[in-house]
């Protein structure tokens, strides 16, 4: 009797599998889908993603969009929303990508050879802000700014180069690994420190289920997938 009650409870829990809404930086698109696929082999919860520029997602959360977890590409976006548990999860770095047949760069100054350079919007989108900070540190920003094609998020900058419509883009090294139509021609080794904070949101509708997935993201199997996609996982 007790056992069948337990069974019934399990079934009920299964029927009420929670839907965890995750708003995540565009640069996390592929890696998170891989992780969620893995996660859902063992968990009942449904993970529903919405990817975009972190600043835009932060704005949506501020405006009351339903969300349980926010996985941001910078602290600036994260600091705009109310969180319960927050952890700095990943780091990343910037690279310059060009079309497969594009210019090759030896130094950062070679960027001046490019006519159009796609960047995520450099005053609001994390990848764009990081890129601008790097170019400013290289004393190149004023020369590059007029050639910039600002895009909605880092993946649209990548797409502009993949289609051959921009001569170069500054993206995360993990983005460059996604497309076969671009090649990395320069690595910004001295770029700004890029940290991805992950957080459980104060207004989460499914805090327990969200916490379960957040813990899974911190765990060893997710770590392995992050590393395979080129991210550095913070201890």
């Amino acid at each position: 009797m007790r056992r069948s009650l337990l069974l019934a409870l399990l079934v009920a829990a299964n029927l009420h599998a929670a839907e965890v809404r995750v708003l995540a930086a565009a640069s996390l698109t592929d890696v998170l889908q891989d992780i969620a696929k893995q996660y859902q082999k063992s968990a009942y919860d449904q993970i529903v993603f919405s990817f975009g520029a972190s600043n835009l997602l932060a704005r949506q959360i501020e405006a009351g969009a339903p969300a349980d977890l926010f996985l941001s590409a910078d602290e600036r976006s994260m600091s705009r929303v109310k969180t319960i548990a927050k952890v700095n999860m990943l780091t990343n770095s910037l690279v310059v990508v060009v079309p497969a047949d594009g210019h090759t760069m030896k130094t950062s100054r070679d960027l001046l050879k490019m006519k159009t350079i796609a960047l995520a919007e450099p005053s609001s989108v994390p990848a764009g802000i990081y890129a601008r900070e790097w170019l400013e540190s290289q004393k190149l920003w004023t020369a590059i700014a007029p050639r910039v094609v600002p895009t909605d998020n880092v993946r649209s900058a990548l797409a502009a180069v993949a289609a051959g419509n921009a001569d170069a883009a500054i993206v995360y090294k993990t983005d460059a690994m996604v497309s076969k139509k671009v090649r990395v021609t320069y690595r910004a080794t001295n770029g700004p420190r890029i940290v991805y904070p992950f957080a459980l949101l104060k207004d989460a509708k499914q805090p327990q289920a969200a916490r379960r997935f957040l813990n899974y993201l911190k765990g060893p199997s997710a770590r392995a997938i992050f590393v395979r996609h080129g991210f550095d996982v913070l201890p």
């Binding site: 600043n55 835009l56 704005r59 006519k115 159009t116 919007e121 005053s123 609001s124 007029p146 910039v148 094609v149 600002p150 895009t151 909605d152 502009a160 289609a163 051959g164 419509n165 921009a166």
Partner: protein, 217 residues
């Protein structure tokens, strides 16, 4: 209005004016052919011309991006870049406004009494002369209202533009794109100022169009 506002407004009006100017000759030709002649494939052309009016603008933008991209079937033949330049802004505006102009002009041509044209012909006027001295002047008000509508549509163009032209401050950022950008940046107050400008332009365009049509009635 601040100076970036003026720059955005200037770019928008210039590109919209150029786009409208460029579609007037082919637009009138197509409208006249649709109104006055019977030919094979007419209904096909009719439908094709109306497509941008009913398709999602962003889908039209994607088609233009594929065609006019640096590696696209048209873009790769052109000696200059289209995508991410002001030319792309004009191109998107032209495609999106063309159906409005053709529709208005076609109705205007159809409303011209064909008997007047035939009388002119019996008096010895050739086709071109009939068109420029009888048909065009009589259809002028309808055509002008179509031109204004096309111009207003061009000013408001967003979906196709953002795909083919990007949203580059000072180069391809038109009024609609600037409003979108400002909202994304969270600068709602600035967005509202541009919105005010957009409302004034739209009001003037519709009001002038109505005035043209009223005078005819």
């Amino acid at each position: 209005m601040s100076s970036p506002d003026l720059q955005i407004l200037g770019l928008t009006l210039r590109t919209a004016a150029l786009a409208t100017l460029l579609i007037v000759p082919p637009g009138l030709a197509v409208a006249w052919l649709l109104a006055r002649k019977r030919w094979r494939g007419k209904s096909l052309v009719e439908t094709f011309v109306a497509l941008p009016l009913v398709m999602p603008p962003v889908a039209t933008g994607l088609i233009l991006l594929e065609l006019f991209g640096r590696r696209g079937p048209i873009g790769s033949w052109l000696p200059f870049d289209v995508v991410f330049t002001w030319r792309a802004v004009v191109l998107a505006m032209m495609v999106m406004s063309f159906p409005l102009l053709v529709r208005a002009a076609r109705v205007a041509f159809e409303e011209v009494d064909p008997r007047l044209e035939r009388i002119a012909q019996t008096l010895g006027a050739r086709d071109a002369r009939v068109f420029f001295t009888i048909t065009l002047p009589l259809a002028m008000r309808g055509i002008l209202s179509g031109v204004l509508l096309a111009f207003a549509r061009a000013i408001g163009e967003f979906g196709a533009t953002i795909l083919v032209a990007g949203n580059i401050p000072g180069r391809t950022m038109t009024l609609s794109l600037a409003i979108y950008n400002l909202v994304q940046l969270g600068r709602d107050a600035d967005a509202f100022r541009l919105l005010g400008i957009a409302v004034v332009i739209a009001f003037l365009a519709v009001w002038t169009t109505e005035a043209f049509l009223r005078r005819r009635a």
